[in-house]
Symmetry: C2
Amino acid sequence: MNNITFPLSKRATTATSSAIREILKITERPDIISFAGGLPSPEGFPIAKIREAYETVMTHHPKVALQYGPTEGYRPLREWVVSDFKKRGVEITVDNVLIVSGSQQALDLIGKLFIDEGSKVLLESPSYLGAIQSFNQYGPVYNTIPTDEGGLMPEGLTDEIAKAARFIYALPNYQNPTGRTLSLERRIALVKRCAELNLPLVEDDPYGELRFEGEELPGLFALSQQYGGTVIRMGSFSKVLAPGMRIGFIIAPAAIISKMVQLKQATDLHTASITQMAVYEAIKDGFLDEHLPKVRELYKRQCHYMLEALEEHFAGIDVKWTRPAGGMFIWLTFPKGVNTTELLARAVEEQKVAYVPGQPFYPAATEPVTNTLRLSFVTVPEEKIRQGIAGLAKLFK
Amino acid sequence: MNNITFPLSKRATTATSSAIREILKITERPDIISFAGGLPSPEGFPIAKIREAYETVMTHHPKVALQYGPTEGYRPLREWVVSDFKKRGVEITVDNVLIVSGSQQALDLIGKLFIDEGSKVLLESPSYLGAIQSFNQYGPVYNTIPTDEGGLMPEGLTDEIAKAARFIYALPNYQNPTGRTLSLERRIALVKRCAELNLPLVEDDPYGELRFEGEELPGLFALSQQYGGTVIRMGSFSKVLAPGMRIGFIIAPAAIISKMVQLKQATDLHTASITQMAVYEAIKDGFLDEHLPKVRELYKRQCHYMLEALEEHFAGIDVKWTRPAGGMFIWLTFPKGVNTTELLARAVEEQKVAYVPGQPFYPAATEPVTNTLRLSFVTVPEEKIRQGIAGLAKLFK
C-alpha cells in the first residue's frame, strides 16, 4: 500500500516532517560541515558515570527498574529536582514535579493540557520550532509577542494580544533559535504582567545550566514565587547528561501537575523506570557540580571559535549576529531581500556547509521572514568551524 | 495554588485518573491480596541478561546510546522485528516498523492519527481500559461490536455500525480484560470484513507470546497479507522482557508508518536510544527462544492455581469465568443485579482482597454493566491465590 485510502485526523493530514530533520538527513554526509544540528557534543557525555549508574541500578534494584512505575516519576529523582531548585532559592515539593520522557514530551503534554482547536497561544517571534510542531497537533491559533536584541518585549503583551490566550511560551535563556537572553528587568516585567492577566506562563529552559558568560539570572518560575502568577517550568537532562536517555521534568503548581499526570498516563503510562533510576544514580552525589563546568568550558570555547571566524570572514558583509551567553546557537540577520531558505541548497552544494534557515521559527508571520539563519557551534571541530564559516561568507558576499 | 483559575482544554477538563490506578494505590498495602494489577511477574524478568545488555551497549556504542536518534527507532531493533515476523511467515521491511515508548504510546499515536473531535471509533465491548483512556483524549464517539464466549463477533460489524468509522480496535489473543481468544474463523472473517469496508483494523497483541494452552493462531496483520485490508499491529517488549523499559513497536503499511513518524516526532522526538539498544542487545542472539518458555510455564502454573481455587471455592455460586489460553487475566460474570463496583470496598475491607470491577471496560454502554470483574493471576503466590479466592467466594456467596 502506497496511498492512504481512508480518512485520517486533521492533525495527521496537515502534519509535515520537520524542516530541520529533513535537512539533517542531507547533512549526515561526511563531506558536509553541518552547523544545522541541535545535537549536544558527545565530548560532553559522562560515559563512565552513566555506565556505572546502570550497573548500580541493575545490581541493587533490578526488580523496581524493570517493573511498571508511577506516572509521576521515580520519587528519589523528583526529590532531587526539589533539592536542586532549593539551592537556587526556589521552594517546591515533590507534588510540584513530574518526570517526562524528554522536553519534547513536556511540550506535548502542555499542548494537551491547554489547547482546543482554535485556542489562542502566545509565542515569541521567532520561537522554538519543536514547540510549534508540538502545539500544532492540537490546532492552536498563534499570536506573537515582538522581540528585539534583548529578546521578548514584555510591553508587547498588550490586553488585546493576551485576550483569551490559553498560555504564553517563552525561553528566557539563550533562546533557541536566537541565542538571546532575557534581562532581569524583562523577566520581572513578564512575570508581573502574566500574573496581572492570570495568563499561564510556560518557561522552557533546556540550556539554563550551560551559561558560559555573565551571571545566572533567576528563572521565571523562581520570580513567580515573589511576583505571583502561574509559571510552568520545563527542564531537561538532555544537555547536562545525555539526550539519548530522554529524561526531562516539569515543575508547576500541584493542581497542574495532577492534571498532567492524568494526561501522561493516557500518553505513555510513565517514563522508563530504569532510565529514571540511572539518571538519579548518576547525579545524586553532586556529580553535576564537577561535570557541568567542563561542559560549559567546552561550549564556551566552541562559541568563541565561531564568533572569531564570523568576525574574520564576515567583515564587510551586511549582517548582524547574536553573542550568546550560553547554550548552543548563534543567529544571523541579513538585510531584507536575502533569502536564506533558497540559499541553503547552494550552501550545501557549493560550499559543503549546512545551517538552518530562520523561516520555520516564525510561528505566525503574515509574510515569510527569509533573512535569518541559525548556526550551532557545539559539535564541529575548530578547524572545520573556520572552514565552514569561510564558505558561508563566500556565499553571502 | 490549589485551584486552577484559567481555562484548560476540554480533554484536560474531562480527564479523570484511571480507576485501575486509583485502586492499585489502595492495594499497595502489604496486607491486601491484589488480583487487581496488570503487572507482569518480576519472577519472569531476565535480570542478568538485561544488566549485561546495558554493559555491552555502554562499552561498545556509548556515544550512539547517549545521543539523539532517529524518530523511526534504532535500525537493528527494527530489523530484528522484521526477522522475527518473517519466522511466522509475515513479510515486512524496516519501513513497516516504528519503535515506540511502550504500547500505551502506540495507542496515543493511533488516537492522534485517526481521531478528530466526534470521529467514530469501533471497540469490542468490553475492551482494554488503557486504550479507551488514550483515545478519549481526542474526543471520539464509540460504537461497540458485540462479543460472546468466543470474543468479538465479526458479523456484528454491520454496515450501519461501521459507517464513517475511522478504525476498529481489537485484541485477538487472551483479550484484556476477558482473557478470551478469537478463533481462526473469526480472525479471517474480521479481516475480510474490514477489507471490504476499507476500515483500518488496529490489532493489539501485548501478550501474544504468552500462550500456554493450544496452538498459536495467525495474527490479524498476517491474515491481511492474504485477505487484504489495512491492519496496524501493535507489539510490546513489556511482557516478554520487562515493562520498566517501555519499549514497544507498531507494524503497518509504510505510508501509515511515515505519518506516525511525523506525529511521534512532535510527541517525544524518539524513544530513548540507550534503552532500544539494550533491548536489541538482550534479544539479538535468540535469547527469547530460551526465555519465553520459562515465562509461559510460570504463567500457566499461576493460571492453573487460580482456576483450581475458583473451582473449589466458587462451587455453588452462580458465576461463570473464562479459561484463558494465555496472558494474565480471568474474567468473572455474575448474574445481573450483582454490583462488583460497589462490592470492591467490602472485598478490600472485609476480605483483604482486590480485583478490578468490569464497569470501566465497557466503552459505550447505555446503562452500566456492573456484574463482571477482572482477576490477574500472575503476581500472587499460590497460597495467597487460594486464600484470596476463598475470601472473594465468602463475599459473593
